[in-house]
């Protein structure tokens, strides 16, 4: 059962042309020329209940425009959006009752109020029954380790604390669907990990569907089995992260420590990139040879003390996809 259905979704913005110089200023005043920017250009996808999907793309690719349409903040230029059985921009008040949204860059909490009072206020805004509120509050505050700063005003929180409070705030009313926009931006490694663990928990234990946009590939690797990649307003990829990695990931590496020095250590199917002081590094491609075949070949010829396989990092794969336009041909 799909919770999000998007068909031929489009969003165009009119951007007025600005001419430079004195004559240009005059032209700006007298004529209104527009260029049409296609922020989102005919995208289709569905997301099933309970999925946790990563939505990726470089800055200005159309990510936030999509999220704004999915949350009802923007009216599409064309196409169809149905989320949770409703058209977001048409039934705003009813629709937002059942969703949660966290925008990492800004807070939904009241700046001068202690965290707990902000949460209490949200209880009234969403009309959460008192029992349910207490239960959720108890669970979230202990999982997110929020007890120590519940009575601190939001303005005095650290970024990590504020983010945890915001995530908690977005879930108190038991939303079916949660939009997370850069929930780990600017956080240290420990804080990031804590948030990831929590996100995974509410997805698996509570079945909350989550759409996550992020620039942090570790978030994606840890959390999302499915990713969607958007660039220049077009959906370039929708599928498993691993498939993407298999197709576009760079070369894998095998590092071998030999038990004794050998003058010659080349092996067919792999390229020797580095050999020094008993340690050799080979690059090889998944399609050409598997790691076990390669290790087998090496161990028949040489005595090996230790070895390790290094997978190409997803960060690099995604960077290459954006920069080299690897997916543009086959969307």
């Amino acid at each position: 059962m799909s919770i999000i259905t998007v068909r031929n979704l489009r969003k165009e913005f009119k951007v007025s042309k600005h001419h430079r110089g004195m004559m240009g200023t005059l032209r700006n005043l007298t004529t209104r020329e527009f260029t049409l920017v296609k922020a989102v250009d005919n995208i289709d996808f569905t997301i099933a209940r309970g999925e946790l999907v990563g939505y990726l793309g470089p800055n200005g690719a159309g990510k936030s425009t999509t999220i704004k349409m999915l949350t009802g903040l923007l009216t599409p230029t064309g196409g169809e959006v149905v989320v949770n059985g409703r058209v977001p921009h048409q039934q705003r008040q009813l629709y937002v009752q059942r969703i949660g949204a966290v925008f990492g860059q800004r807070t939904t909490l009241w700046w001068d109020l202690p965290v707990i009072e902000s949460l209490e206020l949200l209880r009234h805004i969403y009309r959460v029954p008192p029992d349910r509120y207490r239960q959720n509050l108890h669970e979230f505050t202990s999982l997110l380790e929020m007890e120590s700063f519940l009575n601190t005003p939001v303005r005095s929180l650290s970024l990590g604390q504020r983010m945890r409070a915001d995530i908690c705030a977005a879930l108190l009313h038991d939303p079916d669907l949660l939009f997370l926009d850069e929930p780990t931006i600017g956080l240290d490694v420990v804080a990031k990990e804590r948030i990831r663990e929590f996100v995974r928990h509410i997805n698996s234990a509570r079945g909350v569907t989550i759409l996550l946009t992020t620039h942090d590939m570790a978030d994606v690797e840890r959390l999302c089995s499915r990713v969607m990649i958007i660039d220049h307003g077009r959906l370039l990829y929708d599928g498993r992260l691993q498939t993407l990695q298999d197709r576009f990931g760079g070369k894998r590496e095998l590092v071998v420590d030999f038990a004794e020095p050998y003058p010659e250590v080349t092996v067919p199917g792999a390229t020797l990139t580095h050999y020094h002081d008993l340690r050799a590094t080979y690059e090889f491609e998944r399609q050409t040879i598997s790691a076990s075949e390669l290790i087998g070949l090496l161990s028949t010829q040489y005595r090996i003390r230790d070895l390790s396989v290094r997978e190409p990092d997803i960060e690099g794969t995604i960077r290459r996809i954006y920069q080299e336009g690897l997916l543009t041909g086959d969307a």
């Binding site: 913005f13 009119k14 425009t65 704004k68 949350t71 009802g72 903040l73 923007l74 009216t75 921009h89 705003r92 008040q93 009813l94 937002v96 009752q97 969703i99 949204a101 925008f103 860059q105 800004r106 939904t108 009241w110 700046w111 001068d112 109020l113 009072e117 206020l121 009234h124 805004i125 969403y126 009309r127």
Partner: protein, 268 residues
């Protein structure tokens, strides 16, 4: 509806409490809004005393206009502060307006609950004091109709300025920054009606009769309350048009909702 009202009350009390947190700042700001009015009216009073009035209006009579306008505008500025165009423009620019749209509550109530400038109590207190002085000094002949009509006039003024704030806030959807023209309309008209309309040239009087019809909200009602001779020359219904301003407020709200729809279709 009930839920919205209760929530508005909660949001308002949040605003009040956060302002009270900085007690010294709050007291100083409250005093300063009062001092501004005091200095302004004080200098007017000095001049009028020296010249014995203006165009046949005594100081006490001018105080009636002045107190009425300052009190109504003060209340409006406190309660409609969320719609104050520069403040609201900031919400749009910083994306905090989006946060309000993500909540399942009437958006107008949320904007009104997003700001509540309690420090305006200083201005209000002084406005009330000036008005009380005017009522005292003018020896108004109170009739039941006058007594009943006074709160209506005050409330209409309050709503009128609120409507102007809403229009100004809506315009920031297009301009993002608040525009100076709006300040001329809001602060300009509140300043203009502090004084009898007879002191202004014709075109200003026409502007505030036909374009921004604030003349019906303060000047004409004042003629009626004070039994001024100008009343004879005015159309007999002129002092009683003030409740009609309610229609103006409805138009402002229509414009506001139109602005939100257009904001949703264009973003910023």
């Amino acid at each position: 509806m009930w839920h919205t009202l209760l929530l508005y009350r909660r949001l308002m009390s949040v605003q009040m409490r956060s302002q009270m947190q900085y007690r010294t700042a709050f007291v100083l700001e409250t005093l300063s809004t009062a001092v501004i009015v005091a200095v302004e009216f004080g200098s007017v009073a000095l001049v009028l005393n020296r010249f014995g009035g203006i165009q046949g209006w005594t100081l006490a009579e001018v105080a009636f206009l002045y107190g009425m306008s300052e009190t109504a505008f003060g209340f409006m500025d406190m309660i409609f502060a969320g719609f104050d165009p520069p403040v609201f423009g900031q919400h749009v620019r910083r994306g905090t307006f989006d946060q309000l749209l993500l909540r399942p509550v009437n958006i107008t109530a949320q904007v009104m609950g997003s700001e509540f400038t309690l420090r305006r109590l200083g201005k209000i207190a002084l406005g009330v004091a000036i008005f009380a002085f005017a009522v005292q000094a003018n020896q108004i002949i109170w009739t039941p109709l006058k007594l009943a009509y006074l709160p209506i006039v005050m409330f209409s003024l309050f709503l009128f300025f609120g409507g102007l704030f809403i229009i100004g806030a809506t315009i920031t959807f297009w301009t993002v920054d608040s525009i100076e023209v709006m300040n001329i309309l809001t602060y300009g008209s509140s300043f203009t009606i502090d004084y009898p309309m007879t002191i202004y040239p014709d075109w200003i009087r026409r502007f505030f009769t036909f374009v921004v019809p604030v003349i019906f909200l303060s000047y004409y009602p004042a003629l009626y309350f004070l039994d001024r001779p100008e009343l004879a020359e005015a159309p007999p219904f002129a002092p009683f048009l003030s409740p009609v301003v309610g229609i103006g407020l409805l138009l402002a709200l229509r414009f506001w909702h139109f602005g939100i729809r257009r904001y949703q279709s264009t973003g910023t």
